[in-house]
Symmetry: C2
Subunit: 462 residues, 2 copies
C-alpha cells in the first residue's frame, strides 16, 4: 500500500509536504467554505517545475488525483480536492523572473501574487490590466486557470488577452513551454489559450509569460448616484453608445452601498437605487475629454449626485471599498452566493431589471455589484439564515439568474470559471456536443483523469 506522505517526503523534501489533519482541513475548500467535500491526503508546496513534475509522475503511476491551487481565493470550487489525493499549493513559486521593458513582456512563476506583479511592472512604467478583486492574494497561475477578469475588463479584456506563453507540467509529468515572448505567434494549436481557463484539469501551470502595455499616465474616478437602477442602466448604455470606454465601469446596487460607507469620506446616498463607479485612464487631455462627455450624459439624464474625484487618495478609497465588498458581505450574511453570469453589454439593463423579480419570487435578498461596462454583473444571493428552505430558495434564485442570462444570450461564467459551482449548467450553456468535445480533449491530454477530477462538467454516475 502506498503512503503518500512518506513517499512524497522521500521524493521531494520534508518541508514541502504537509499531512497534518489541520493543514489538510484548510485545503478542503476555496474561499467558499460550503464547497468543501473531502480533505486532501497530502498537500505539496513545490518550489520548481521539476518538483511538480516529480509529484505528477508519482501521482500518475499510482492513479492519485492532483488538484493545483493558487491562493484558494476562487469562488467556483475549482481548487477543491473532491476526491482527496494531492493538493499542489503553488504559492512558494512566486518569483518575478523578468520584466522586460524593451519587449513589454514579463516572465513570472505561477504562484506570484497578482498585486505584487502589478507593482513590479508599474515600477517599469508598464501595465498589466487584469484585476480580479482578490488581487492582494490571488496568483497569476490561478488567474490563468480560471481565465480571471476584473473591473478593467471593460476596456482591457481579461487574463486571456495578456497571456503569451506558459511553462506547464502535463499529466504525464513532462514539462513543456508553449507560446513565448513574441507578441505574434502562429505556430500550431494555441495550447497557451487551451490551458487558460482549463481550471487545473489539463496540467499544472508553473510559469507565465505575460504581454504588458504602457502604463496610462493619468486616471480619474467618477462616482455617479442613480435614483433608479433603470437610470444606471441607461447611463451605462449611453456612455458605451457614445464611444467612451472607461477603464472601469462598476455597478453597485442599493443594498450594497451601505456596506461601503465606512471606507468612503463622503457617504453614498442611501436613497439611490444604484451607484456607478467609473475610472478613466490615458493621457490627461483624453481623460478630460471623456470626463466631460460622461458628465454631460449624466446631466442630460438628470443625475444629481455626480462626483469627479480629483484627489488620488480619495479615489483609491472608493476602489478599495469596492474590492472589499465581497468579504464585507460574507461577514454580514450567513451565506453569500456570488453569481458570475455575463450578458452582452447591451443586455445589461435587462438583466438588472430581472433581479428584483427574482428577489420577489424567492423572498431572498438579491443584489448586484459588478462590471456593468462588460455585462459581467455578479448578482449575489444573500442569506441571513441558512436552512433547508433558504438553501432550496437560493438554488431556485441561482437557477433563475442563470436562465435569465442564458435567455439574454449570455454565458454562465464571465471570470470565475465553472469549477463545481456551475458544472450542472454546462450542457445547457454550451450544448451536449461541445461538452463531449471538452471531454475528448481532456481524455487525449489526461487519459487517466488524474488532474483535478470532478470539475467543469458533472461526472457520469459510475
Amino acid at each position: 500500500m502506498i503512503n503518500l506522505g512518506k513517499d512524497l517526503s522521500r521524493l521531494l523534501s520534508k518541508d514541502k509536504v504537509k499531512t497534518d489533519p489541520e493543514d489538510l482541513y484548510s485545503y478542503a475548500s476555496d474561499s467558499i467554505r460550503y464547497y468543501a467535500k473531502n480533505n486532501p491526503d497530502a498537500v505539496i508546496l513545490p518550489s520548481s517545475a521539476e518538483d511538480v513534475s516529480t509529484v505528477i509522475k508519482y501521482a500518475n503511476k499510482n492513479s492519485i488525483p492532483v488538484t493545483p491551487r493558487g491562493a484558494g481565493s476562487g469562488l467556483a470550487g475549482g481548487c477543491v480536492p473532491v476526491d482527496g489525493g494531492i493538493v499542489l499549493d503553488m504559492k512558494r513559486m512566486n518569483s518575478i523572473v523578468e520584466v522586460n521593458r524593451g519587449n513589454m513582456t514579463a516572465i513570472t512563476e505561477a504562484g506570484t501574487v497578482l498585486s505584487n506583479f502589478h507593482r513590479a511592472v508599474e515600477k517599469e512604467n508598464l501595465f498589466y490590466p487584469p484585476d480580479p478583486q482578490s488581487m492582494s492574494v490571488c496568483t497569476l497561475g490561478g488567474n490563468i486557470a480560471t481565465r480571471a477578469g476584473g473591473p478593467r475588463g471593460v476596456k482591457y479584456g481579461t487574463t486571456g488577452n495578456y497571456v503569451l506563453g506558459l511553462e506547464f507540467v502535463l499529466p504525464d509529468g513532462e514539462i513543456i513551454n508553449t507560446g513565448g515572448t513574441c507578441v505574434k505567434n502562429s505556430v500550431g494549436y494555441d495550447i497557451t489559450h487551451l490551458m487558460t481557463g482549463s481550471e487545473g484539469t489539463l496540467g499544472v501551470i508553473t510559469k507565465v509569460i505575460s504581454r504588458l502595455i504602457p502604463l496610462p499616465p493619468c486616471k480619474k474616478t467618477i462616482i455617479v448616484g442613480c435614483k433608479t437602477a433603470e437610470l444606471a442602466a441607461q447611463i451605462v448604455s449611453t456612455i458605451t453608445a457614445n464611444g467612451a470606454v472607461p477603464a472601469m465601469l462598476e455597478y453597485i446596487s442599493q443594498g450594497a452601498t451601505g456596506f461601503l460607507n465606512s471606507y468612503i469620506k463622503t457617504p453614498l446616498i442611501s436613497e439611490m437605487e444604484a451607484y456607478l463607479f467609473l475610472e478613466l485612464d490615458g493621457i490627461e487631455s483624453q481623460i478630460e475629454n471623456e470626463a466631460n462627455k460622461i458628465r454631460s450624459i449624466c446631466k442630460d439624464l438628470g443625475v444629481s449626485d455626480i462626483r469627479v474625484i480629483e484627489d488620488a487618495k480619495e479615489a483609491k478609497s472608493y476602489w478599495d471599498a469596492r474590492s472589499k465588498l465581497q468579504p464585507i458581505l460574507q461577514s454580514f450574511f450567513k451565506k453569500l452566493i456570488v453569481e458570475d453570469v455575463t450578458v452582452p453589454r447591451d443586455k445589461f439593463p435587462e438583466l438588472i431589471r430581472a433581479l428584483p423579480e427574482i428577489s420577489a419570487a424567492t423572498g431572498l435578498l438579491v443584489g448586484a455589484a459588478g462590471h456593468a461596462g462588460d455585462g459581467n454583473v455578479h448578482p449575489s444571493v444573500l442569506l441571513g439564515e441558512v436552512n433547508d428552505e433558504t438553501n432550496k430558495k437560493s438554488e431556485e434564485a441561482v437557477d433563475m439568474i442563470i436562465n435569465e442570462a442564458i435567455s439574454l444570450g449570455g454565458c454562465i461564467s464571465g471570470e470565475h470559471g465553472i469549477g463545481l459551482h456551475k458544472s450542472a449548467y454546462l450542457e445547457k450553456s454550451i450544448g451536449k456536443r461541445q461538452v463531449e468535445l471538452l471531454k475528448q480533449i481532456k481524455k487525449a491530454i489526461d487519459p487517466d483523469g488524474i488532474m483535478n477530477p470532478g470539475k467543469i462538467w458533472t461526472r457520469e454516475a459510475k
Copy 2:
C-alpha cells in the same frame, strides 16, 4: 466506387460543385504557386453551415480529405489539398449578419472579405484592427484559421485578440457554437482559441463573432528615412522604450523602397538603407503628443528625412504602396520566399543585422519588409533565376533565417501559420513533446484525419 462530383451534386445542388479540370487546377495552391502538389477531386462552394455539414458527413463516411479555403491568399500552403479530395471554397458565405453598436460585437459568415468587414464596422464608428496586407481579398475565416496579423499588431494584437466565438463544423459533421457575444467568458476549455490558428485541421469555421473597439477618431502618418538599417533599428527600440505605441510601425529595407516609388508622390530616397512607416491613431491631442515625441527621438538620432504627412490621401498612398509590396516583388522576381519569423521586440535589431550576413553567405538577395514594432519581420529571399542551385541556396537562406530567429528567442511564424512551408521546423520550434500533444488533440477531434491532412507537422512515412 464513389463518384465525388455526382454524389455531391445530388447531396447539395449542382451549382455548388465544381469538377472541371481547369477549376480544380486553380484550387491546387494558395498564393504561392510552387506549393501545388495535387488538384482536388472536387471543389464545393457551400452557402450555409448545413451545406458544410452535409459535405463533411459524406467525406467522413467515405474517408475523403477535406481542405477548407478562404481566399487562397495564404503564404504557407495551408489550404493546399495535398491529398486531393474536396476543397471547400467558403467565399459564398459572405454575409455580415450583425454589427452591434451597443455591444461592440459583430457576427459574420466565414467567407466575408476582410476589407468589406472593415468598411461595415467603420460605418458604425467601430474598429476591427487586424489588417493582413491581403485584406482586399482575404476572408475572416481564413484569418482565424491562420491566426493572421498585420501592421496594426504592434498596438492592437492579432486576430486571436478579437475572436469571441465561432460557429464551426466538426469533423463528424456536427455544427457547434463556441464562445458568444459576451466579452468575458470563462466557460470550459477555450475551443474558440483552439480553432484560431488550427489551419483547417480541426473543423470548418462557418461563422465568426468578433469583438470591436471604438474607431480612433484621428490618425497621422510619419515616414522616416534611415541612413543605416542600424539607425532604423535604434529608432524602433527608442520609440518603444519611450512608451509610444504607434498603430503601425513598419520597416522597409533599401531593396524594397524603389519598388514603392511609383505609388508615392515624393519618392523615397534610394540611398537610405531603410525606411520606417508609422501610423499614429487616437484622439488629436494624443497623436500630437506622440508625433512630437517621435519627431524629437528621430532628430536626436540624426534623421534627415522625416515626413509628417498631413494629407489623408497622400498618407493612404504610402500604406497602399506598402500593402502592394509583396505582389509587386512577386511580379519582378522569379521566386519570392516570404519568411514570417518573429522575434521579441527588443531583438528586432539583431535579426535585421543578421540578414546581410545571410545574403552574403548564400549570394542571394535577402530583403526585409515587416512589422518592426512587434518583431514580426518578414525577411524575403528573392530569386532572379530558379534552378536547382538557387533553390538549394534559398533553402539554406531560409534555414539560416529560421535558426537565427529561434536563437533570438523568436518563433517560426508570427501570422502566416505553419501549413506546409514550416512543418519541417515545428519540432525544432516547440519541441517533440508539444508536437505530440498537438497530434493527440488532432486525433481526439478528428480521429480519421480527414480535415486538411499533411499540415502543421510532417507526416510520418507510412
